[in-house]
Amino acid sequence: MNPLLISIAVKHLLARKRQSIVSLFGIVLGVAFFLTISSLMLGSENDFIHRLVDNTPHINITDEYRNPRQQPAETMFPTAALDVRSVKPETETRGIRGYIQILDYLRAIDGLKASPVLAGQALVSFAGKDVGISLNGVVPEELNTVSTLHSYMTIGSIDDLIANPDGIIIGSELARVMSLRVGENLNVAATTGQIHTFKILGVFHTGRASYDETQAFVALKRVQALLDRPNRINTIIVKLNDAYQARAVASEIESHIGYKAVSWQEASEDIMSTLMIRNIIMYSVVSAVLVVAAFGIYNIISTVVMEKQRDIAILKSMGFHASDIEWIFVTQGCVLGVAGCAVGLPLGMAMMTAFMGLSFRVPGNSDPISIPMDWSWYQFAIAGMFAFTAATLAALLPARKAAHVQPVDILRGGS
């Protein structure tokens, strides 16, 4: 760009320091808020996905079928027009059949760890209080490889279940509600009517009150006996080295074993789409800040164009082209955009850092939480590009108006 035009543009802006600073301030705030809010959005989204990926199975295989099982007649006559009526399902013990073979198949897949679980409803009774819980029968040796429960243990360890098969691990909320302590005995009644007394070996605390109150873990064999479902499980927890492969792997597993395999992406599809909608709303709101700032720039440059009609006329009479005049005012928008980015980006960075240091308590969460922030170079690029483009476009309209000023019209107006 012609340095002469830049110098004229800069002098125009410097001649109106106060207005220029006000419109610059708009861009600075716009950029800083854009950066901060987008980092907050990205941080909370990543944090959410991270928690989702870490704290839930990457793939959950359950004892259900996605589609009804094909009738033998349909298999026998695939092209025939069959009408099978009044099909009465076989009464059988629910659960995943042949889970040992399925586990062998799963463990043969690279980068995959799997562990069986039998979960069922139970009632715990202690000191006259009854609380319904979800009793999870697990293989303690394997649970650590597919779950993050061990990282939430506050007292004891999951491995204690290996040494004591009649042990139980409960959540901190359940312990609090029922005034339970490690080492005490707990009566657990299954829906089959069987009652078993477990010794409390450990307590976990995830911070999610409902989970900490309703989940308990015991050895798989004990749950199978308690629920009267020997050699059955109803869930296989799968963890992958690459969590983002879960959808493809789940599909492959399901097509191989027939049981429903749900990836974490599928299980959270509603949440993921909610996240996307939330992002669209937030980005729209934050972008509006920059659009408002752009109106500020439009305002200042329109004012300059109005005030500089005489200068425009004299420049044109000297021999400046209409495009030169247009560039002078577009350059003013560019200068404000660049300056806004130059100040706004570091300010945004400072705001992000400040937000990262904040922590507070929210209802439903027993631990103080800090604000998750995350950023990458493309957020800075988007903020910068958006601000620069908005500032330049805001300048374009008055610049075109300036370019069309007819010197004679102004000069005829006299001195």
Partner: protein, 223 residues
């Protein structure tokens, strides 16, 4: 004498419900080294004629030749280029850019033309201002100078690209008698000593008397 500028039967009418004729059927030749004064009563069309001759406005009918270039069919950018290289303007008010120093104002046309390097441009601006007695005003802003000094800076700016023709619209209209005399002498000198054509619109009979030729406009026509 070389004819630098020739207008042939030019008219300028402003369209509208009631059309206004600013200039009507004017033919005129301006030669190198000639000092031409255009006089006439207020509203007679003197300035309109000057703007037409200065290629700031286009005639509704007729033709204007600048040197050998017929200008009425030129595009806006071409006319701007012709103004930049061949014409210099001085207006009643100095019309200096207020944010630029005297020197920077003079440098503007040269920087836009881009034929000289920055050092040469600065030296020429300084020389032009010195020639007009403004060697101590080089770094001053227009608001720090008197009206006479500002008008001399405007003349220096008009001379920056060494144009053949200087067009002045009431150049002494806002000046006191002393400053007015100085500016008149400078403009006359530009024609007599430097061989440029100077076309000056003026109400001032004394100023017009100093011209080689006087053209009087009444109701848009040469009388």
């Amino acid at each position: 004498m070389d004819t630098l500028l020739r207008a042939e039967s030019i008219s300028r009418r402003l369209p509208g419900d009631i059309p206004v004729t600013l200039v009507e059927d004017v033919s005129l030749e301006v030669h190198a080294g000639e000092f031409l004064a255009i006089t006439g009563p207020s509203g007679s069309g003197k300035s309109s004629l000057l703007y037409l001759l200065g290629l700031l406005d286009q005639p509704s009918t007729g033709h204007i030749w600048l040197n050998s270039t017929e200008t009425t069919r030129c595009a806006e950018d071409r006319l701007a280029d012709l103004r930049l290289t061949h014409l210099g303007f001085v207006f009643q008010s100095h019309f200096l850019l207020p944010e630029f120093t005297a020197s920077e104002n003079v440098m503007l046309p040269m920087q836009r033309l881009g034929k000289l390097g920055q050092a040469q441009i600065e030296a020429r601006a300084r020389d032009l201002l010195t020639d007009l007695g403004l060697h101590d005003q080089v770094r001053k802003l227009p608001k720090q100078m008197s009206g006479g000094q500002s008008q001399r800076v405007a003349i220096a700016r008009a001379l920056a690209n060494d144009p053949h023709i200087i067009l002045a619209d009431e150049p002494t209209g806002n000046l006191d008698t002393k400053s007015s005399g100085v500016v008149q002498d400078i403009l006359r000198g530009l024609a007599r000593q430097q061989g440029r054509a100077v076309i000056a619109v003026t109400h001032d009979h004394a100023f017009a008397e100093k011209a080689d030729r006087i053209v009087t406009i009444v109701d848009g026509k040469i009388r």
